[in-house]
């Protein structure tokens, strides 16, 4: 089996597991705690802002140097579409991994390209969202909501960006024919990171955008 062959290329370990895979899982575990602190920070300050703009309510806010009435800031349809794109990118990357393990280069390159494009779309959506919010009066220090929102989603967006760069690098290797089935673990490790970025968004999306 191609998957087992990949592991057989490396020297034996005490656990019988590939150390690189063990390392990425340990990293993912530590990242869970990192995002838990950011989510806690957002939840603790939720609903504590004294001025707008606010996520779901009309509020009084400072706009262009004077107080004004600000509309609710979130655009749920756009973020829902971005969420769906990120979820499907996880599906695409497992199909790419399946292709890599079977030695199907066309499947590998096609689905990995789709994953990278989905990641780029998500990052683009987040850049648009931040730009749009800033022009609606929500700066990083405007209120507690702005500070906690930009910190949480900004760190997630940075993780997505790094994931896109990592997957794009693997894609270049695949295009150059340097990702044979024996090296499919290189993609599997990048895919694990990508899935983690996806599951973090699975938590952030309802907590930030949908919960009251």
């Amino acid at each position: 089996m191609a998957h087992d062959t990949a592991h057989a290329m490396h020297p034996p370990t005490a656990t019988g597991l590939d150390t690189r895979k063990l390392a990425i899982w340990t990293f993912i575990g530590s990242e869970c705690l990192f995002f838990a602190t950011l989510i806690s920070n957002y939840l603790v300050y939720k609903g504590q802002s004294l001025v707008g703009p606010l996520p779901h309510e009309t509020s009084q806010c400072m706009l262009h140097g004077q107080m004004a009435t600000c509309e609710p800031i979130f655009e749920i349809p756009l973020v829902t579409f971005g969420t769906a794109v990120l979820l499907f990118s996880s599906f695409f990357v497992v199909l790419a991994l399946n292709g890599a393990q079977k030695g199907n280069r066309k499947q590998l390159i096609g689905w990995l390209s789709a994953t990278v494009l989905c990641g780029l779309f998500f990052v683009g959506m987040q850049v648009y969202e931040f730009y749009h919010f800033f022009h609606k009066g929500l700066g990083y220090t405007t209120n507690l909501f702005g500070s906690s929102f930009y910190t949480l989603t900004g760190f997630h967006g940075t993780h997505v960006t790094l994931g896109v760069i990592w997957l794009a690098t693997v894609l270049v290797l695949a295009i150059r024919g340097k990702l044979p089935p024996e090296k499919a673990l290189n993609l599997e490790i990048a895919a694990l990171y990508w899935h983690f970025v996806d599951v973090v968004w699975i938590v952030i999306f309802p907590v930030v955008y949908l919960m009251r």
Partner: protein, 115 residues
């Protein structure tokens, strides 16, 4: 080595199962947004039922989506239990940290209303 690895890691599922999981994840996301919309529109059917339970509905759907991705896309269902432990143990600590901070700040705000 081959036998040693085979005891810990098994073949990953195929594209058919991956597609089923993707469809379920998509439907669950649609349900999350539907629950949000129903709870915010007083004229919509089931508004009275969904509004007080919105947070609980979202937590359950989110946890189910998280578990599906971890089990099937991250292959924890097939791979070594050590990997599952490396995810689940920090997740338990993370949940405790979030709950503890929420309770702490709720207590402090009750003690000092202007905080």
């Amino acid at each position: 080595m081959d036998a040693q690895v085979a005891t810990h890691e098994h073949a990953h599922p195929g594209p058919a199962l991956y597609l089923k999981v993707a469809v379920i994840l998509f439907v669950m996301t649609a349900l999350e947004v539907l629950a949000f919309e129903v709870s915010h529109r007083s004229g919509w059917p089931m508004h009275g039922l969904v509004q007080p339970l919105l947070n609980e509905i979202l937590i359950i759907l989110s946890a189910a989506k998280f578990a599906l991705v971890a089990m099937f896309y991250m292959h924890l269902k097939q791979d070594s239990k050590i990997f599952s432990g490396l995810l689940v143990f920090p997740l338990i600590i993370a949940a405790v940290v979030i709950l503890a901070l929420l309770l702490l700040f709720a207590y402090l705000r009750a003690q000092h209303p202007g905080m």
